[in-house]
Amino acid sequence: MIKHILTLVWNKKRTNMLMMLEIFLAFLILFSVFTFAINFLRMYQSPLGFATRDALLVQLMLDDGMDSVAHLEMRQQLRREVELLPAVQTTSFNSGVTMFSGSMWTTSNNDNGFLLETCIYHADEQFAAAASLNLVEGRWPEVSDQNNKYAPVVINRRLREAYFGDKPVIDSIIMLDGEKKIMGVVDHFKYQGEFETERPLTFFFLPLHDENLRTLYVRLKPNTPPEFEEELNKTIARVTRRRDFVISSVDADRVRQSRQVWVPMITALLICGFLILNVALGLFGVLYYNISKRRAEIGLRRALGATQGAITRQFTAEVMVVAAAGMLLAILIAVQFPLLAVFDVPAENFYWSILATTILILLVVLICAFSPSRQAAAVQPAVALHEE
């Protein structure tokens, strides 16, 4: 049966060649777009780990030449006055490297006997409460911990799993810019953006007089109207005596940043959808025409006793052989990507993408082939042979 169909396909190789080429190309295009989409969607699955709704971020502008007492007093006053506003729940000072800011602070060293690479996030003692971080172990440090022998740090679970495995980490001392004591482990913290892989991360604590604390994270009560920003604006302008600071909504920042991935991804998927529809319609038309030209052959087979099912199967199988040849060729090329590891994309994403593309194309080809084949099978032998 298979051998017979292969002969049939081979006999019409010129017509089938074009069809095969089309399937081959369609596979490669779908494969690249699916890899792109699967790669980003898998990153999107892991949670951010902090609250973006009802939160504002203020990029403070501070006068040069303030000493640490002035810094401390200004921040204390700012915190007092902002937290007095009825819509505000809590506030927390961060450094300039904040969520969705596009900047990242990383460090690496060999001092622990292995290569430790981690992102660094600076915050004050109220950050866990303000941003609703989920601590899976230990606790978030308090102001009094800053005077301990070892400066406190909190790590994320990704760092714990990458470097410490199952060993207990709470109260361990690690070498990271000096000796630091791990006080807690945060479930997730993916501040770079939704479409990023979570990296090992360490929270450092800065006292309020540190001049690097240039951002204020303000957590609002639920359903605060956007007009509140103006009130906050006035308060900050009064305390810092400057007006060139910028307030942004954390959720709006998230949406704006994610849109840079959503827009191209959805565009690419829509274009792919159109291409597939185009190919499907074309395939359908061509098959319809090819099969209608073979009415005589079908009539003869029917007259000799072939069932309708046998004929449907034959034509569908013919198309599937052509499609399979095109797909096989394309898969051979596609598997080179994970094997050669050209791109910085996890290999399994490529395999998922190959699987998804194969299923989709098989489905499309099957649907396109089935209907003309059914039509062909419905041919009455007497009519078909009479025409001839």
Partner: protein, 445 residues
């Protein structure tokens, strides 16, 4: 004769509605997307104001400072020779980079070392993309992006001035609080886009008098995509007096019409490399990469030490993507066209029997195909216009306004023609070579 072909083409289209429908669908959607891409390309790379002179511009955007130390690599090779171990030691003298700092220029560096290179008509120092202000207007919040510039900025970038004037060298020198705003900001701030001259805009700690209104740049290029333009002397803080090397400034040089871009880039790079460094223990090498507009654009997408390579790679990637995208519908169309034309085998047989040349038949079918393509192109254009409207309205691409102008129209016509010929040629060629006897045999006329 052509009118004959034309009539024939329309008749054929009407005959097999299913195939016609499939063809038109494929053609119109493909062309629609190609037209959208063309519109996008024209907005970002076309010669539109304020970047009409983009081919004559050289940009300085990044100043790189490095601490480079001599680095010796010692390699010991061991080989077994006659049962004894022999060692071969080689030293490679190279250099290692201990620390790098990459940022824009300070005004001081540009002002002191990078004025007036040879072959340049005009040049401007400006600070863009880093200054954003919140403005609260009766419960509305505006985010205003400011560009601080000198007076030459207006000669290097040819903004469409809608009313008033741009600030002069005198106003820049005296730090006069004046502003040129975009029509978009005028609409948002004052509720109207004309007659706002002399009004005041309050930004940060100061108030600026509006002296001119320009049309907002349609592209997203940061050197021109601002809402408000202010004299650079009015910058907050001590940005101008600071004598650090790095800051927030960039420079654009407008070449003479006859000047080549290469020598200017080389001179700027060389002059930057010669800037004396105050503290060689911190950084002992200073360098920059003067870039053309295309190179600047590409280097933001593909990071590379050589901007020319970035540009080449960007073109390669986009070219390949486009090729792949066009190839599939074309193949599909060829496939359909073969079926369509083969249905008319008998017609061809008769025409050939009466003496038509293979060439005549070839041209007839290509011509027919071009007609279908243009028909599809028209549908595609209508769809593209609708989609452009939708994209601009929904602000999917913030601040970017895609337009369908004459140039885009011309590109689209070219695309249609090419597409029609390519997808018609193969089937027409195949059919024109049919043997008369084969074509007439077994076909019901």
């Amino acid at each position: 004769m052509f009118s004959n072909y034309f009539k024939l083409a329309l008749k054929v289209l009407g005959r097999n509605k299913f195939f016609t429908g499939i063809s038109l669908f494929g053609i119109s959607f493909t062309l629609m997307i190609l037209m959208l891409i063309t519109a996008f390309y024209d907005t970002e790379f076309g010669e539109n104001p304020p970047l009409s002179n983009k081919d004559r511009l050289v940009f300085l955007s990044v100043l790189k400072m490095e601490l480079v130390v001599p680095d010796t690599t010692l390699v010991i090779d061991s080989v077994a020779q006659g049962g004894l171990m022999a060692y071969d030691t080689t030293f490679t003298y190279g250099e290692g980079t201990n620390s790098v700092s990459i940022s824009s220029f300070s005004y001081y560096v540009l002002d002191d070392y990078l004025r007036e290179p040879a072959g340049v008509t005009d040049y401007s120092f400006y600070s863009s993309g880093q200054h954003s202000f919140n403005v609260f207007l009766d419960n509305r919040k505006l985010e205003v992006g400011a560009i601080y510039a000198d007076a030459a900025y207006w000669r290097v970038f040819d903004f469409n001035l809608r009313e008033g004037e741009c600030f002069s060298a005198d106003q820049v020198q005296h730090a006069t609080p004046v502003a040129v705003i975009t029509d978009e900001l005028a609409r948002q701030y004052f509720g109207r886009d004309s007659g706002v001259l002399g009004q005041e805009v309050e930004l940060g700690n100061s108030r600026f008098k509006v002296i001119g209104v320009v049309r907002r740049s349609r592209s997203m290029n940061s050197m021109v995509a601002g809402d408000i333009f202010l004299p650079l002397t009015t910058m907050e803080g001590r940005a101008l007096d600071d004598n650090a090397y790095q800051g927030s400034f960039q420079a654009a040089y407008l070449l003479d019409r006859s000047a080549a871009i290469g020598p200017v880039q080389a001179e700027l790079a060389e002059r930057t490399a010669r800037i004396p460094l105050r503290n060689p223990e911190e950084y002992n090498r200073i360098s920059t990469l003067p870039m053309s507009f295309g190179e600047l654009y590409a280097s933001r997408l593909i990071d590379n030490n050589e901007p020319q390579k970035s540009l080449f790679r960007m073109r390669l990637v986009f070219g390949l993507l486009l090729l792949f995208f066009v190839l599939l519908p074309t193949l599909n169309l060829i496939n359909i066209n073969i079926s369509r034309i083969m249905e008319r085998e008998s017609e061809i047989g008769v025409r050939k029997a009466f003496g038509a040349h293979a060439g005549t038949i070839l041209y007839q079918f290509v011509f027919e195909n071009v007609i279908i393509t243009f028909l599809g192109g028209m549908i595609g254009m209508v769809l593209a216009l609708g989609l452009l409207h939708l994209i601009n309205d929904s602000q999917v691409l913030p601040h970017m306004i895609l337009r369908f102008n004459l140039r885009v129209f011309a590109y689209s016509l070219g695309i249609c023609l090419l597409f029609g010929i390519v997808s018609g040629w193969v089937p027409a060629w195949r059919v024109s070579r049919l043997q008369i006897a084969d074509a007439l045999k077994s076909n019901q006329l």
